[in-house]
Symmetry: C2
Subunit: 259 residues, 2 copies
Amino acid sequence: MNSAGSSPGAESPSGDEVSTAGAILIGDELLSGKIQDSNLYPLAGTLRRLGIRLLRVSIIGDNAAVIAREVKQFSADYDVVFTSGGVGPTHDDLTLEAVADAFGVSTHIDDVTRKMLEEHQGKQLTEAQIRMVRVPDSSRLVSTKDVPWPTVVMRNVWVLPGVPQAFAMKLSVIHHELKGSQCLLSSSVYLRDDELDLTEKLNQLVERHPQVSIGSYPRWFDTRYKTKITFDGEDAALLDAARDDLLSLVPAESVVNIE
Amino acid sequence: MNSAGSSPGAESPSGDEVSTAGAILIGDELLSGKIQDSNLYPLAGTLRRLGIRLLRVSIIGDNAAVIAREVKQFSADYDVVFTSGGVGPTHDDLTLEAVADAFGVSTHIDDVTRKMLEEHQGKQLTEAQIRMVRVPDSSRLVSTKDVPWPTVVMRNVWVLPGVPQAFAMKLSVIHHELKGSQCLLSSSVYLRDDELDLTEKLNQLVERHPQVSIGSYPRWFDTRYKTKITFDGEDAALLDAARDDLLSLVPAESVVNIE
């Protein structure tokens, strides 16, 4: 098991810093509408703060072949990949096996994790429960001081739990272990104008500020504002210039807030 | 424009009834963690109640080429596909063009929708705003009495808005227009037992009830129950048998609730 503070990006394509990410949320319950996912939002926020661009998310069911195919594809497409779900002890927990399959390796029982789990529950694991501590061959187990329960990392794939409270704990591990390569800055302007009436002005802005990513988000039934305009990029001066340009295009009384 | 009650599944691979679905949620704001998606959960629930299996969801950014590729793949893979987002009037609203690209067709201005929008805002659309009423050639526009604003349907792809309030309105159109081929039944048992202690029993259940899909969901920090066991399938008698079998395997005092 790697100790806290090890170099986690060593096996990622871009070396120590990672630039792009993909996420795979696993579970029949998400697709059947029984459970509302609550892991993506905090993951996306964590990655943005780290300077890692999340480029794609897949939500798929508890099917080992589908999970393996998805993991293989994502691992090739992005610097770092996160899975969520399917790591418990029961028959529908297929992620660790599927991740092994994705990389053409077998699994083995990790004795350290096994001992931790046995100490936790005060008795030996049964044959069926051992599923939970079977990890892909050549995977790394990452622990930190705050989150001693190991996180399985296979190449550039971080295998995270689906239970929201457990997932949230793992975000602190990600924050500790991964380093993004980008400085993702963002600012927003909240306007009283209807998005339809802003279209021409936004088109001007987009043309004049090609290095700033400009977003427009209408809001219904909100008495405070009607449209939120966002500016994203890596250069603070360029962001400020685009924002000031917008402010020069709309009447002062339209502006509700600037963040 | 098709009138309410038209036959929507006519162009879907399976005829009038649809069996499988995929969904594509579009928007940089979902991937950057600025906005928490709230459309998937009600969509998934609506589809389940209709008897349509949602098999995959992709969340992707505002990139026309990526959207087009995804739509093309999903359209081939599933009976019906739903997109959410990217249908407003601004530069980052790319979905309608991308859906046209996916099927190798052009777009045209739909005069009926244009007139509706002009009446709504009390003035003519500008050249830039017309983006909003450009629809793929040979797409259908579906209206219902309750939701007169047309929904664009291209082959088996339903193009829905991203704004949650607008999306929710469209779910009533889907409910009105689509008919699932399956009867998806579900029941749940809430137990005080830790999931780890249920593993062996669940493995027995899974083996004895191959036609029932059995799920196990641990719950942390909940004083009411520790594990929820779900039973899903198309046959009520088989579901009941699996549930009763579980109830015979656990002590009565473990059972918190049966749904």
